[in-house]
Symmetry: C2
Subunit: 338 residues, 2 copies
């Protein structure tokens, strides 16, 4: 296995200096066409591929962006990452991906790893991160952006929406339909500010109407279809039934809808169900799911653009609020008469 060719090899073959070869790669405009042609053909002949590590070391620029998501198993994050990655690739950046499995401690660890890999920027999800993380990013002055969240008053750059406000809108919509017996199947709120904000939004909106989200009608479950099913089943088979169930995301809501069908509970006749995310599926199941459309593609793009701008010294709004639309479909209807 012989050594890979280096700039020096290319330079020798092309009859120029290594500096010129480097310039051909990084600023082709600054080198005369004649020389450039010689270099290009030397590169082709040798099959030269620049060494990223050396390049990163010398230029203090890695060309990579890191992202830490809770999980890729929820396709809403996968879609967001897909969009982020495509936008980054278009700007010649590569994505380094890690997952936290919904643990802030693991997140901190993954972020440290990414930072030591030398990422130029970081995409995070949510607002709550361990203090040492923010400290590290500040000290190394690594640009970062929180996504899936929007906090106009917070100190951190963000691209997203106000989870509390959107959840509140869902609750208000149900209240307007006459629902009073409202239950919620939330995601696990520990280490998850989006989940707790959504709960808070529902609670706040209900209490504005003098209503209370009872403790036994607030169920926390991991985001999975099966958990949505069992939670819904539990809600429907113990004591008085709620007339509406707000789910922390679409996955839980899908579970609820499936379980309702299995139990013979009429949706929305007996009970209304709402989701959060608007997965592709939401519009196809029957009854189709009323939910909030999270602008994942847009979020990925905006996060990429923010970081790319920051890295190249350009300016970009520190906070971007994205619109979340309430998509009313068939799983919600007027509250049944008492």
């Amino acid at each position: 296995m012989k050594r890979s060719p280096t700039v020096a090899d290319v330079a020798r073959l092309a009859g120029v200096s290594t500096a010129t070869v480097s310039r051909c790669l990084n600023a082709p405009g600054t080198v005369r066409p004649g020389a450039r042609a010689k270099v290009d053909s030397a590169i082709a002949e040798l099959g030269y591929v620049p060494d990223g590590a050396a390049r990163a070391l010398a230029s203090r620029r890695a060309g990579t962006i890191g992202a830490v998501v809770p999980t890729l198993e929820n396709s809403i994050f996968a879609k967001g990452i897909h969009s982020l990655q495509n936008r980054l690739a278009a700007a010649a950046n590569t994505l380094l991906l890690a997952s936290s499995n919904y643990s802030l401690d693991q997140e901190e660890h993954e972020i440290r790893t990414l930072v030591s890999r030398g990422v130029d920027g970081l995409v995070l999800i949510g607002t709550s991160h361990r203090a040492p993380v923010y400290e590290l990013l500040r000290r190394k002055s690594i640009p970062y952006v929180n996504t899936w969240t929007f906090d106009p008053r917070g100190p951190h750059p963000c691209v997203g929406f106000d989870n509390r406000q959107v959840a509140g809108r869902i609750a208000r919509y149900l209240l307007d339909l006459g629902h009073r017996r409202i239950a919620m199947i939330s995601g696990v709120t520990l280490d998850n500010d989006r989940a707790s904000e959504r709960v808070a939004g529902v609670e706040r909106t209900m209490s504005d109407q003098g209503l209370l989200l009872q403790a036994d009608w607030l169920i926390e479950r991991p985001y999975s279809i099966v958990d949505g099913r069992t939670a819904f089943h539990h809600l429907m088979s113990s004591g008085p039934r709620p007339s509406a169930v707000i789910c922390g995301n679409d996955v839980l809501a899908l579970g609820a809808v499936f379980e309702a069908e299995a139990m013979g509970v009429d949706v929305p006749g007996d009970v209304s169900i709402t989701g959060f995310d608007d997965l592709e599926l939401a519009s196809h199941i029957s009854p189709s799911l009323t939910t909030a459309r999270v602008p994942v593609e847009h979020m990925g793009i905006a996060a990429a653009d923010y970081l790319i701008s920051r890295i190249s010294g350009r300016t970009f709004p520190e906070r971007t609020e994205l619109e979340v639309q309430l998509v009313v479909r068939e799983t919600t209807g007027r509250a049944p008469d008492e």
Copy 2:
């Protein structure tokens, strides 16, 4: 913004040489506990974080693995990547992710980028990749592994299953149920060896029974629910109806099942439908989907293990075949009487 601390700073503060600091980081066993303690506290005091680029340059090891997937929008790939990433992280490797959007040319470009970023290994999907890609990997002797495919005779390391054979099993299963009028909604076969192998498997198995997969009963569509719906709709509304529809993956199959319900077509009474992948959803929709369970988690783990072994010089089987189970559920039944 002051310079980040380097090994030299740590060494000075700890009163040792840079070599010792380096050893503390990479082979703690070889340095005396006393010295190690001093180094550790110096690291903590300075908040030192090693520079990945410099480390990669000096050690010829990046600690990163690249992966190129067609898309993350299909959650089956997202799950695979999730599993791969978790396994890699456990072995202190970071994942560099790119997507090809089902284009081999774009794949080649992304692979070149990853290679120049200095990945230690590469996870690819499928067997068909541009010749220059294989050539490049060979020349730079970068370990790689093809996933989602199993080719015992091919020259490439792989972890997966035989798409043709599994598709054939699905077809045979339907034939055994008495189906003769079989149609297929395939994914786009251009640049996608898994999709074309699946078609080939169905065709082969049918022709073994003297049957033909008619041209107008083989529809190619991008993998999306909507495309599954429209394709199914088309199949059911032009000319004689098939009694069974084999779908290239679960996403298409979900579309078909949803459309059947919308059209009032009875599944499996009027028509049987099969998928491929076994998404979480497949078992929850109604009727639940008969499909082939692709062992994504296992595939991610095995791919990670293969590369990690290769990189650390250990040996690992070049080809791993994973079992794919045919999961019979409610969307398939005996062919209706003629």
